[in-house]
């Protein structure tokens, strides 16, 4: 199908983009267009004007300090896959990027667009939540820092206000002894996940996050606590099923089993030396 008519303009800088979005309440930012264009083509989204933010240099930079990496919102999945930006998670982001969609889509789709889209099954929301990322959100009245847990709200829903733009993500670097993995189950290479889990483990801190179960990715609190205490076996299984039951909107035996298998796989990968 073809999209309904809209007007398009390319912004050259972040202030220009914010001004353009501020001037028109019916406008949306366009980054890679790899989610927005299909939604417009299928007429699932109607938008009167698109402000292209994909070529804004400020959104394309990445930098690192001793303790964190900052990745611009318009950095593409392919740039992460190719190692063109620093990886705060010992290569885990790079490996995960390879599994997102297909190369043609990875070359255009961006990390910021993926989080702003907030598809419940998307990869970056799950991964960035597990890594404790903070979104740096630019708006008319300046910039605010929003932890991923407060940015993600529900299915295709974030706490971003109309006219706001994610400028970048600030992601703490994992300590040298930390282990991290992302396990994705999908029935076809490149498709959205049926289940996606990111697990991070080091001496002090453990965290496991599940996506594609319920409206948004969530930290599995009981399972994370069990990991930190090195609990395994039946007690860990119990913690995992309690967490999963709390996330799934319905009591579906297949989905419970699928997610539990994936969570155990991820935990096993980071806990076994």
């Amino acid at each position: 199908m073809k999209p309904a008519p809209f007007s398009y303009a390319r912004a050259r800088s972040l202030p220009e983009a914010l001004a353009m979005l501020g001037a028109d309440a019916q406008s949306l930012p366009l980054a890679g267009g790899q989610s927005l264009a299909p939604m417009l083509n299928l007429r699932m989204t109607i938008c009167e004007s698109l402000v292209d933010i994909g070529a804004i240099a400020e959104l394309l930079v990445a930098s690192e300090t001793n303790d964190h990496v900052t990745i611009g919102a318009a950095v593409t999945h392919a740039m992460i896959e190719d190692g063109s930006v620093p990886d705060p998670a010992h290569g885990m982001m790079r490996r995960a990027a390879q599994k997102i969609a297909y190369r043609a889509i990875r070359c255009h789709g961006t990390i910021g667009g993926s989080v702003a889209m907030a598809d419940p099954a998307a990869d970056w929301p799950c991964i960035l939540l597990a890594l404790d990322a903070i979104a740096l959100v630019a708006g008319a009245s300046g910039e605010r820092r929003v932890p991923l847990d407060r940015l993600l709200v529900g299915t295709y829903e974030t706490s971003l206000q109309q006219g706001e733009i994610i400028r970048a993500f600030e992601i703490p670097k994992l300590p040298p002894d930390a282990r991290a993995t992302t396990c994705k189950i999908n029935r076809k290479t490149g498709a959205f996940a049926d289940s996606i889990v990111t697990a991070v483990h080091n001496g002090q801190k453990s965290r496991v996050v599940l996506g594609a179960a319920g409206p948004r990715a969530r930290i599995l609190e009981n399972a994370s606590m069990s990991m930190a205490k090195n609990i395994n076996g039946a007690a860990l299984d119990q913690a995992i099923s309690t967490d999963i039951a709390g996330m799934l909107p319905e009591d579906d035996a297949y989905l419970k089993h699928l997610h539990a298998t994936n969570v155990k796989r991820a935990i096993n990968e980071v806990m076994t030396p």
Partner: protein, 162 residues
């Protein structure tokens, strides 16, 4: 309507187009370049693959206005390309097509793979083509065609000392 200036297969094109026109329709309907096919129009089938500034792109997910001042290359623009010619020979020899609807997109994705990964194994080829759907061949011939092209290209490099 917006006036765009872009380069398509090394030719400058200037045109007044509707903002909502996708690049694939622009190439086919305005530029008469019909190698680029449209299957799904939402990023799933890969038939619309082109290069924008050398980068593999779904032309159903780019609006032509986004390509203002950029270089677009379609299959028609790769007549003299060594990798594409090896792939064409491979598809011919290994029965890599039946109806040919998916073929332009397959060729674009396969060329992108061979440029990034000169010696792919079967798994690499299958993964790189996972975003290109074929309703006819069952894929086996396509996978063999790409393997054959990659072998031919590396043999010719060895022979020419490159």
């Amino acid at each position: 309507m917006t006036m765009v200036n872009l380069t398509i297969n090394d030719k400058k094109v200037t045109c007044d187009i509707e903002d909502r026109t996708n690049l694939a329709d622009f190439l086919r309907d305005t530029c008469n370049l019909t190698a680029t096919h449209l299957g799904c129009e939402h990023g799933a089938c890969g038939a619309c693959g082109v290069l924008v500034d050398g980068t593999l792109t779904r032309s159903c997910l780019k609006f032509a206005v986004q390509c203002d001042a950029r270089h677009v290359t379609t299959l028609e623009g790769l007549d003299q390309d060594a990798v594409m010619n090896a792939l064409r020979e491979g598809f011919h020899h290994e029965h890599g097509l039946q109806c040919g609807f998916c073929t332009p997109g397959m060729l674009m994705a396969a060329r992108d793979l061979l440029l990034r990964h000169p010696n792919p194994d079967e798994q690499d080829i299958r993964e790189a083509l996972a975003g290109n759907l074929c309703r006819c061949t069952g894929y086996a011939g396509i996978v063999r065609a790409v393997a054959r092209a990659s072998k031919r290209l590396s043999d010719s490099k060895i022979k020419s000392g490159g």
